[in-house]
């Protein structure tokens, strides 16, 4: 019983990280219509900003976390202004944008490695508390992760349904050209979208940094896992990335428990490929 509870908890922790990444990915995919692989480079920025601000500069943790979230948001915004916006202007294909984002990913990883070395680093303990839920051990940071994933997804849902910004995003997701014609300042919306998406990734980086530590290459796995979660839910469907990611987390951890840790990732991804072959539109879309 205790073990089952722990496996469920582990699945939720992993799934929540994927869900946050999926949320960010979906937001960018819905508007920009391309796979932004720079996600993998943006995630660690959040964690490293905390390291720089709290450990190197000695400022309070709260300042570090805020700087990590906002800083990564700005990094996401800059990527859009400096790389994606000029390409969009030239009517570049989504493949061109994907390759450009791969370049950005490589650059960010290398830059972080140069600044902070590529060795593994840990952040100071945020909240030294453990909770026992039905015998499963969960740390405070992990609990924050689980709650954040639900809160951010719901928050985003409300933002998209109840605000004029949300209406604009949904319009752009339906048709970018028509959105421009009816007078939506799409570039302004893109700025906001990339800032918010970046900030979410920064938040992921901060929490993952507190949870398991930092290295410049850490973003890659979470990026892949997050995109897979988005695909399972249905690409571009902001709300459905959450259940997609949780299913992925449960699948991964169940395979580890039933079979073996070495096969966790390979089997999960094979199942995803099979899934894509038979239900490319996602699990929940009709």
């Amino acid at each position: 019983m205790e073990i089952i509870a722990q496996i469920i908890a582990n699945s939720l922790i992993a799934g929540s990280i994927y869900a946050l990444v999926a949320l960010s990915f979906n937001l960018m995919y819905a508007t920009g219509k391309f796979f932004n692989l720079a996600i993998g480079g943006l995630i660690p920025i959040g964690g490293y900003t905390v390291l720089a601000v709290t450990v190197y500069l000695g400022l309070p943790v709260g300042v570090g976390i805020l700087a990590g979230v906002v800083g990564t948001g700005i990094a996401g915004l800059l990527l859009d202004r400096l790389i994606y916006a000029p390409l969009r202007k030239r009517q570049a294909s989504s493949l061109t944008l994907l390759i450009a984002s791969l370049g950005a990913f490589t650059f960010l990883q290398a830059a972080l490695a140069l600044l902070f070395t590529s060795s593994y680093q840990t952040l100071p303990t945020l909240i030294d508390k453990n909770y026992s839920v039905f015998g499963a051990q969960v740390t405070a940071v992990q609990l924050i992760l689980i709650i954040s994933a639900v809160a951010c997804t719901l928050g985003m849902h409300i933002l998209l349904r109840k605000t004029s910004f949300g209406t604009a995003v949904r319009a752009m997701s339906d048709d970018l050209e028509v959105s421009k014609i009816i007078g939506i300042d799409t570039e302004k919306i893109f700025c906001a979208v990339f800032f918010i998406a970046g900030a979410i990734l920064g938040y992921v980086g901060v929490l993952v940094g507190f949870d398991v530590g930092l290295d410049p290459l850490m973003g890659f796995f979470y990026m892949v896992a997050g995109i897979v979660g988005a695909i399972v839910g249905g690409m571009g469907e902001v709300l459905l990335g959450y259940p997609g990611s949780i299913i992925e987390g449960v699948l991964h951890n169940t395979i580890i428990y039933v079979y073996s840790a070495a096969w966790g990732s390979p089997i999960t991804f094979v199942l995803i490929i099979i899934f894509l072959l038979f239900r490319p539109r996602g699990l929940f879309r009709k």
């Binding site: 073990i3 722990q6 496996i7 582990n10 699945s11 922790i13 992993a14 060795s119 593994y120 840990t122 453990n130 026992s132 051990q137 740390t139 993952v208 398991v212 530590g213 290295d215 290459l217 850490m218 890659f220 796995f221 991964h252 951890n253 580890i256 428990y257 073996s260 840790a261 070495a262 966790g264 990732s265």
Partner: protein
């Protein structure tokens, strides 16, 4: 460009190449006619015995190579000062293996075919040794490594041996300790790389022979989430957990999640992890009582003390990379003894070194087994209050 100038240019280029070629060949002849400087100096004495030296002298691993070169030179000078081998001095022929297979193979070819040495000290890196072994075998030259630790080199060739222990030896030392503790079941969380695999193999061979059971979970290096693997291992109710990681970083990650799962269990770690004093100190509470096996130095060994003071006197610096320097130093002295016993014959030198039994040196008592590996070498350590200390009980 007119036709005439074109022809003129061709003539000039051809003439230049011809001149260069002629110059090169005459230089070579002159060089081969003058006797080597070393021989001239030792006129009246006997010719030196050439000993190959294959270490990384440039590149990332050069800091090791340089320290080893200094150590080997120190030993050679000491030996030559008291008459060398049967009155003949030793002479080191240095080659740069750059800690990789390709350059080591080129360097080894030169040592074997051009310098025609009968014994080579090296390759210092495992990759150098692995590449040099086939060349040593073909040329019937003994290859004696003071630094390579890959288990892949065990029993590789009749011409290869080492006085630095294989990584696998720590596995068997720890298995003995586990059996002595009365542990029946050990859980392994093992990184999917050669070094951790080697340790697991050696550990399980010994531990299962003694009636123990091993449960294991493997993980690729990129893994950061070990929770479910650890949960599974925990449910097996083992007596101890072996964190079999390649680096301190992955070891520390696993350790953090063990603590977070509120799993209190005796731990075993690799020497790569135990060797990182900073990480050990930072995790001292979680690691209290943890077992490890290291190939360290014995500061009470008189020969080791002599090496340290002689090095300081000659180079004005503290002996660097001590666990390697001690085997480097011993390798030169063992080479001397081997040469004195069997003469300049690669096969016999290898045979002599491979039967070394309780040879006393700076690194303690050296015994080399029939598989070419140093027997034992790793000592059992226990972590106490953030320090890795020798196990006394």
């Amino acid at each position: 460009m007119t036709k005439e100038t074109k022809v003129l240019w061709v003539v000039v280029v051809v003439a230049a190449i011809a001149l260069l070629g002629w110059y090169a060949t005459t230089q070579k002849k002159e060089a081969s006619q003058t006797p080597p400087a070393g021989q001239e100096q030792s006129a009246g004495q006997q010719a030196p015995i050439k000993v190959g030296f294959l270490h990384p002298l440039t590149g990332d691993a050069a800091s090791y190579g340089e320290a080893m070169r200094n150590t080997a030179r120190l030993a050679v000078e000491e030996i030559n000062a008291v008459g060398g081998v049967n009155g003949r001095p030793l002479e080191l022929v240095m080659e740069d293996g750059k800690c990789n297979g390709k350059d080591a193979a080129n360097a080894m070819q030169k040592l074997v075919n051009v310098d025609q040495v009968k014994i080579v000290l090296g390759g210092f890196c495992s990759s150098e040794s692995l590449a040099a072994v086939p060349i040593a075998e073909a040329g019937k030259v003994a290859l004696f490594s003071p630094g390579a630790s890959s288990p892949d080199l065990t029993g590789k060739s009749m011409y290869f041996m080492r006085d630095y222990p294989s990584d696998a030896s720590q596995g068997s030392v720890l298995a003995d300790a586990a059996l002595k503790k009365g542990w029946k079941k050990i859980a392994f969380i093992q990184e999917q790389l050669d070094y951790p695999v080697g340790i697991l193999k050696a550990f399980s061979a010994k531990f299962e022979q003694g009636g123990g059971v091993i449960v294991k979970e493997e993980f690729p290096t990129t893994t950061t989430d070990f929770r479910s693997a650890l949960t599974k291992l925990k449910s097996e109710k083992p007596d101890a957990l072996f964190i079999d990681s390649q680096t301190p970083a992955s070891g520390e990650r696993v350790l953090k999640q063990v603590v977070e799962l509120k799993w209190t269990i005796p731990l075993l770690i690799t020497d790569a992890f135990a060797g990182d004093a900073k990480t050990i100190e930072a995790n001292k509470d979680a690691l209290e009582g943890t077992l490890a096996a290291e190939f360290g130095v014995d500061e009470n060994n008189e020969k080791f003390q002599r090496l340290v003071s002689a090095y300081k006197e000659k180079y004005g610096a503290d002996l660097p990379f001590q666990s390697y320097a001690q085997t480097e130093y011993d390798a030169v002295y063992m080479t001397r003894d081997a040469l004195a016993a069997v003469g300049e014959d690669g096969e016999q030198l290898a045979g002599w070194l491979r039967s070394a039994l309780d040879w006393q040196g700076a690194s303690g008592s050296v015994t080399i087994g029939s598989d070419g590996d140093r027997v034992g070498g790793h000592t059992l350590k226990v972590i106490k209050d953030g320090k890795v200390t020798i196990m006394t009980e």
